[in-house]
Amino acid sequence: MARPVGLLYAVDDAVPAGMLVLSALQHIGVIATTLFYPLILAREAGFDPHATLNFMSLCMLTLAVGTALLCVRSKFVGSGYLCPAGYTQIYLGPCLFALQNGGLAVMFGMTVVAGFLQTALAPALRRLRPLLPSEIAGLVTAIIGLSIATLGMRYVLGIQGHREIRADSVVIAVIALATMIVLNIWTKGLTKLFCAMIGMLFGCAASAVLGQLDLSIVASSAGEALMRVPVVQFVGWKFDAALLAPFAMVAVASTLQTLGNVSTAQRINDADWLRPSFRSLSGGVAANGIASMFGGMVGTPGVNVYTACVGLSSATGITSRRVGYAISVILLVLATVPVAAGVFLAVPYPVIGALQLFLGAFVLTSGLQMITARMLDSRRTIVIGLSFAIAVTADIYRDAFATLPPVLQPVFGNSLVLGTTCAVLLNLIMRIGVRKRESLNLEPGPLDREAVEEFLSEQGGRWAARREVVSRATFGLVQVLEVIGSRPGGVEIEASFDEFSLDIRVRHAGAPLALPEHRPSTREIVASEEGERLLAGYLLRRSADRISSRAAGERAETQLHYDH
């Protein structure tokens, strides 16, 4: 792992206390803009101001729990990177549909289901790796960047709800955006680090001058206690089988978005990044699923790693995981302060738009870099190019897609879900004929190591397999042949390869290989050849990513699998 130039605080670095708090506050300023999504649901549900503020506080509680879970580094849960949680447009469409057709209980119940499905996907990610390659994660990131920027542009132009461009919106947004860009590009130190927060403050000031700062929601919180514990106000969870498909797609899209974001966070921290670390990805997806389940349980929508925050960490060079913990603690405190929810909701739309446009630029280019980091052959070009084009049509032909059956709405009504669904399906189709196979038959007799090495080395070169993987496979094959020894009928070897795995199958006469889980003692190894064979089996088990040996008719078959 090589530290990239320009990274101020890497993922494991300690951050000075003042910088830690300011950086966390800046992220919270960015995350708070996503409270807009649950606010839409609150208005749709007809909450009164008191219930709305309590709902927003619960949303902050979910964000606090989600951020801590996503950032923590542990064996099963957490990405280990600075990946704060935010609300997402992925949940919005299906949640609105559930709310309108079944009420709050169905919306929260199905959110728990989506979170559960996502959590269940996490342990299977490594096996699903061929279906979710890093260029698709890059595509997801790029589409998210485009979606953020597109939505941002709508707010910048002030065309929400009506079609004409509002000059005051544009002026406010230009002031906020210009501040962010100037501070980020032409200044150093604190102003560069906190460009987004300062830009938002300038935007809010401009809004106040132009009479666009609506503080009525803040005023409505004046009657509330200064601090209080938010209460779970709408208890009840219902399952609706008809909504399983849309919420399953939510789980898949959310997983892909997490994969893209965690991969980006890994890449920001490693100049030599080539492919994602799956332990971190699985932990991130599990954390995201659990966070969404928690959200559904306390009565909020599901969350996702917030792409704009990952973009912000790239823009500022502060990527320490500890910032995530600070965000979580501050959000936890803010969840008990009703006026905080009011202040966040008072940020004017043009300011949110400027922020989304600024961060969308970083997210979009990060996604494009992930795509182009891979060699794009014809198959990948079709998968990525076609999916990207189709994703864009979801926004262009929104009205036409709105006439499709309800079960298809969550897919076709959202560019991210449509693009990723296309990419996953096309990638699946394009895998036909990708796997290459070659075989080698060894006659009975002493081990011809050179022939075996030459076979794997030549095929590895032809298949452009990584040298390190071929080297491990060569050891494994020689070790298997050493244990088998000379067998009547010789030995059949078959090597097969696609870009994700190198598999070797060895068929021979006799019994399957012993593959013990525990190493024989050094005494046993020295004492007999049986001890040496057990050591061989133990080494094979440890060196291959997967291994099995079983009887196949009158012969035995040993299979070695190496991830690529």
Partner: protein
Amino acid sequence: MVESALKVAETRSGQVCIVAVSGRIDSTNANDLLTRLNTLLSSGEKILLVDFKEVLYLTSAAFRVLLVATDEAERNAARFVLCSVLGQVRDLFEMGGLLDAFTILGSREEAVAKLGLA
């Protein structure tokens, strides 16, 4: 390209007899290595340093030979030490849980300096 056939070369640095091994060590040549090591030990060498810098990989047969040589050295009141155990070879020692079964020092120079003082 590194030559894959096993080669064994002996040099001396003071009291330390250095055995530089290169290539692959497996069942086809492990006994040749054992014979060389046993010959050196029975000829009265008291400090045997096996340099693994040029070893590409080793199989279970090689590990057995090294364990047998370790026992033989003990019987002869000699020291049997490995050095420059790097990369994939070190990974194999680690996978086999055998790093602790041998005395392993860093580079040849470090090992000679340490053993020369002992």
